[in-house]
Symmetry: C2
Subunit: 252 residues, 2 copies
């Protein structure tokens, strides 16, 4: 933030990190030394569009990981019945490909949800940088364990209602919603593929939430009206039996 511009802005690798709008980008955090180390390994940003070839495919040897500059991307696999199962959505500042960093083989395919830009981080350069600047491996480990926590959260046996409520609360935070207003980058189908719900269930729940005054939404634009109740719904405080007994469709 308080860092002054430097002469290497837009240097040979052309990342221009010092003018990058992504404040949560890894290159903007940590000590000066680690920032410099990041700058060394970052390759220029590239644009990725929905429908364009994936950053990497499942089972491929991982050449690079990616730091999201703008837009939204997803990693996914083809599960049962050829259905898409989304492992994660990636917003500006997030690192894509961490789970494969030490495996060499990727478990999922990475594609854009909307028009996006990413910075390329060649694995070889990154690994050699890790030896010189331990802070880098710390940041990587942080993001890795964050993703582990999210995966575990997803595996909890929550109701469809709890899943979607938690998802919306999380997305509002990650998208830095103002006054509860934000725009989901992904389709209902994508939301379902991520939360392991049918597209129709997601749609019905949006309707139920709206009817109960929790939020308003027009297509992908969402406004959270009652963040408190929505958060309460997300947490498994009211468990299954209670909710079932309450006989209240979707919301108390």
């Amino acid at each position: 933030m308080a860092l002054s511009l430097r002469s290497n802005t837009g240097s040979r690798n052309g990342t221009g990190c010092w003018t990058c709008p992504v404040h949560s980008c890894l290159a903007r955090q940590g000590t000066e030394a680690s920032v410099a180390a990041w700058l060394e390994v970052l390759a220029p940003r590239v644009a990725v569009m929905p429908g364009s070839p994936p950053l990497f495919r499942a089972g491929a040897r991982l050449q690079s990981i990616y730091c999201v500059r703008g837009g939204c991307l997803k990693t996914w696999v083809v599960g049962a019945e050829g259905k898409e199962r989304i492992h994660g959505f990636y917003l500006p500042g997030d690192l894509i490909g961490l789970d494969a960093l030490w495996n060499a083989r990727t478990a999922s395919t990475a594609t854009a949800v909307v028009a996006s830009q990413v910075c390329v981080v060649p694995v070889e350069r990154l690994k050699s940088a890790v030896g010189r600047e331990p802070e880098i491996s710390l940041r990587i480990a942080e993001q890795t364990s964050r993703q582990l926590a999210m995966a575990l959260a997803l595996s909890a046996d929550l109701t469809a209602e709890q899943r979607l409520a938690a998802f919306l609360v999380q997305m509002a935070a990650r998208l830095e919603a103002r006054n509860g207003v934000f725009k989901l980058p992904m389709t209902r189908r994508d939301v379902g593929a991520y939360l392991r719900l049918a597209e129709e269930t997601v749609s019905r729940l949006f309707g139920a939430f709206e009817q109960n005054g929790l939020l308003r939404c027009v297509d992908k634009a969402v406004q959270i009206l009652d963040a408190q109740r929505l958060t309460a719904l997300a947490e498994p405080g009211l468990e299954r039996r209670q909710r079932a007994g309450a006989r209240s469709p979707a919301v108390a």
Copy 2:
């Protein structure tokens, strides 16, 4: 394996890794230098019994991670309705506490499933060792991403049948079953808490598998009779619709 005994066997830390029966233990793999580094950070083994105080509790500051020598341990949280949700089972060679290594705070509680022994690895000593011997961080990262993969697998929306089949195949491998015979360390309730299934469902599925000639089991002792079909069941090749249409309870 081919390593000869050394004079530091049973040295001040008393781990006696060179005579340790756990061949998959981290201290037995890798270069000699990394092995030596591991030996430095390992504290003597300790015994843990079911019912004895946990290695650590959820939310605590992580003092040490643990390397399993023998027995079986589990990490778990109390989810909705006060029900136990098991994050993972740990068998000889596994490291416990990795997910909290970089967070400082543990997400789960670690207790013994059966009488077990673990080696203590103080976090401070481990972290300082990481700087000196990068290979250590590599092994840690490997196990971390392995756990990430397992968490993702668990979050897949598989049927109860697929979950249990996959679990049994995996346990047979991890327990190094001979002729498909092995003994599950944990109760049906624990299996359910791990797979996110009701205890009764687990029990019913064991019965169904047995009726279909996939396995035989008496209490916790299991013999897999048809590993091929069991593995096929575990994979989401036959998807929901087909299975439902087939009208075959549990197995075709």
